[in-house]
Amino acid sequence: MRKTKSFPLLAAVVAATALAATVSAAPAGAKSTKAAAGISCSKTLDIGMLAPLTGAAGFLGQEQLSWAKYAVKTLPSTMGLKVKLVPGDLPVEKGQADAQAVAQKFISDKSMVAVVGGSTSGSVVSTSTALTQAGLVQVSPSATRTTLTKGDNQQATNAFFRVVPADDFQGSTDAAYMVNTLHVKNVVIFDFQEPYSLGLGGEVEKDLKAAGVTTSHQSVANTVTDFSSFVTKVPSAADIVFFPTQSPGTAEAFAEQLVQQGKQAKVFGGDGSNGLGEFKAPGSYISSFAPSITGFAADKAIIAGWQKDNKGKPVGSFGPAAYGAVQVILAAVKAACTKGGGTIAKRSLVIGQMRKVHIDKGWILGGKFSWSKTNTRDPSVQKFYILQIQSNGSYKLMN
């Protein structure tokens, strides 16, 4: 009995100290990060990357990471900077809480000046507020949700930029292509009960209806892999099934089942179905926010260099956008360094410089880059590319 009496007493003393300390400490806690002195540009700067490196969308994040790594390896030395890439894994299966925890990690990193990401629109919604408040600019290579930068109820903050066009363009481009080039009469639109497909599918449905096309809608849970009954419901008169899945494998399986059940409709996927080698049903379409850069002569050297570091991997379209995001970030950081005479006084200065960034040559996705005049956080070139899958599985540009 005597031995244990001291334990609670000790604990009580500890608690009292804690209480006293916290009362005095609470307001002081928030100020300390601001008190950090400016970031010297001669030291190694950190650029964070928020992408799904594991999980179902891991292939996307890994592709983007490899290109961003290559950009950080080759570009900063030409600008007189030293940069390190800090990846943060945000699997799509994990929710907001995880995204915000990783964002907090980035915020505590004193040498961090900018963030590439989030790659998925959901992660942008989760992290943008905190990152912006901490003064970190975000440049996303693949978050295409329209409401991030447009509309009344914007889901991202004004320090969020993206180098790829938004989904409203994708939806209208796809619908226009279907109506004007493919002359469709009957289209079935699928959604998978998650924001990407709901947004994109909704956009396409709206435009098609306005053009007088007969549309029907099917809603499928995200976990379904066996589409046989849904395929049965596709009317035999349907020309196109708009299938905005985020997994190329699912698009392939669906296309096969369409053929199996003798439906004549072809599959039209969004940028999520973009997967060379996985989605290969001939006659299907996908839309992509970035052209394949193998067609640009100016990028040959970059592609060769990247392929040396990443043997055997194909050049996709998600990766080069990440390279482009790093290009834009480095331009802004360099401008901030120059303006500050070799020091970045506050992180938020980079945000100001980002608004003025324009690249006159060497932009990986087509030579020149600048922000759009109407919406300064989207790129000026807002084009979605429609590709058709050929009989040998390759993708051919149609527009």
Partner: protein
């Protein structure tokens, strides 16, 4: 009419797969009184093993063996691999807990389920794997077949359904006509009495797991012939298999078969005729109602628990 035929075909194909899993659940529950949560993941492993066999034998683009031999080997490989896995699971995760409170093997089963699903995600990634059967032999598995009305019934569907039924018949004979089957039935009826009658309980349980897991493995391969597989499908399939087992009557073999088919048809018709959005909800609610008001299912017998 065509829609009905097509939906019925879908239901039959899906249902036979569900029946195979439900059988495994029923057998294991009958002998151990344990719901094997990991069963769905054994199914998933089976589909991956089939994929492995296919790749080793050249893949769908360039098979080194005639098609029928290839398919047979894939299914056999899945069955053998899953049987071994099932025995290992029983030996290491369930046997030490045979005399523990009932909650213990259940939680252990949950742990095994998570372990399997995430191990495969670790090793093979979370993406989908497509057998590519569609392209096998120039697509003959899908183009050959026969017609009912306007509906084309592909060869692969016929193969799948017939194989599943063949397995079920073999199982039925195994359980009713052999000594091992008799021992299994005796153990599921009353374990202590069976032990007193000289039946080696450990052997019977291992045998049950072998049979149940082999069925799941076969189901996994057949499932993946039509639909891409991924490391995460085990959970949902396990739920569906359990639903089928309960609807049919857990502990009853014809019940499991019936339950599987009923579930397959229900899913197909609800999705086809009514709504795809709420089909899951309807099925889960039906299951809960069954468990509340008729826990013995359609073909099971109401059990009386002796205290």
């Amino acid at each position: 009419m065509d829609t009905f035929t097509q939906l019925t075909l879908n239901g039959l194909t899906e249902g036979s797969t569900y029946a195979l899993i439900a059988l495994g659940y029923t057998l294991i529950y009958g002998v151990l009184k344990l719901l094997n949560f990991a069963h769905g993941d054994v199914f998933m492993v089976g589909s991956f093993i089939g994929f492995g066999v296919l790749k080793v034998l050249g893949g769908a683009g360039d098979p080194k063996l005639p098609v029928w031999l290839l398919l047979t080997l894939m299914v056999r490989g899945g069955m053998v691999g899953c049987a071994i896995l099932g025995v290992a699971i029983e030996r290491f995760a369930y046997r030490p807990l045979r005399d523990a409170p009932r909650i213990a093997p259940l939680i252990s089963a949950l742990g095994v389920s998570f372990f399997l699903a995430n191990s495969f995600q670790l090793m093979f990634g979370a993406q989908q794997y497509n057998y590519g059967i569609f392209f096998l032999d120039g697509g003959s598995l899908f183009s050959k077949g026969f017609e009912i009305g306007n509906v084309h019934i592909p060869l692969i569907a016929i193969i799948t359904i017939l194989s599943a039924f063949a397995l079920m018949i073999v199982l039925w004979l195994l359980v009713t006509r052999t000594r091992a089957g008799k021992a299994m039935r005796a153990t599921s009826f009353d374990r202590e009495a069976a032990a007193m009658m000289g039946i080696d309980i450990d052997r019977v349980i291992v045998f049950t797991f072998v049979v149940g897991s082999a069925l799941a493995g076969a189901g996994g391969v057949m499932f993946a012939l039509r639909v891409p597989t991924a490391a995460s499908i085990g959970f949902v399939i396990g739920l569906k298999g359990f639903t089928a087992a309960v609807i049919g009557g857990i502990g009853s073999i014809p019940g499991a078969m019936a339950g599987g088919l009923i579930l397959g048809f229900a899913e197909a018709y609800i999705a086809g005729y009514w709504t795809t959005r709420w089909s899951d909800l309807v099925i889960f609610s039906v299951l809960i109602l069954f468990m509340l008001f008729r826990p013995s299912g359609l073909l099971g017998q109401a059990g009386i628990k002796k205290v």
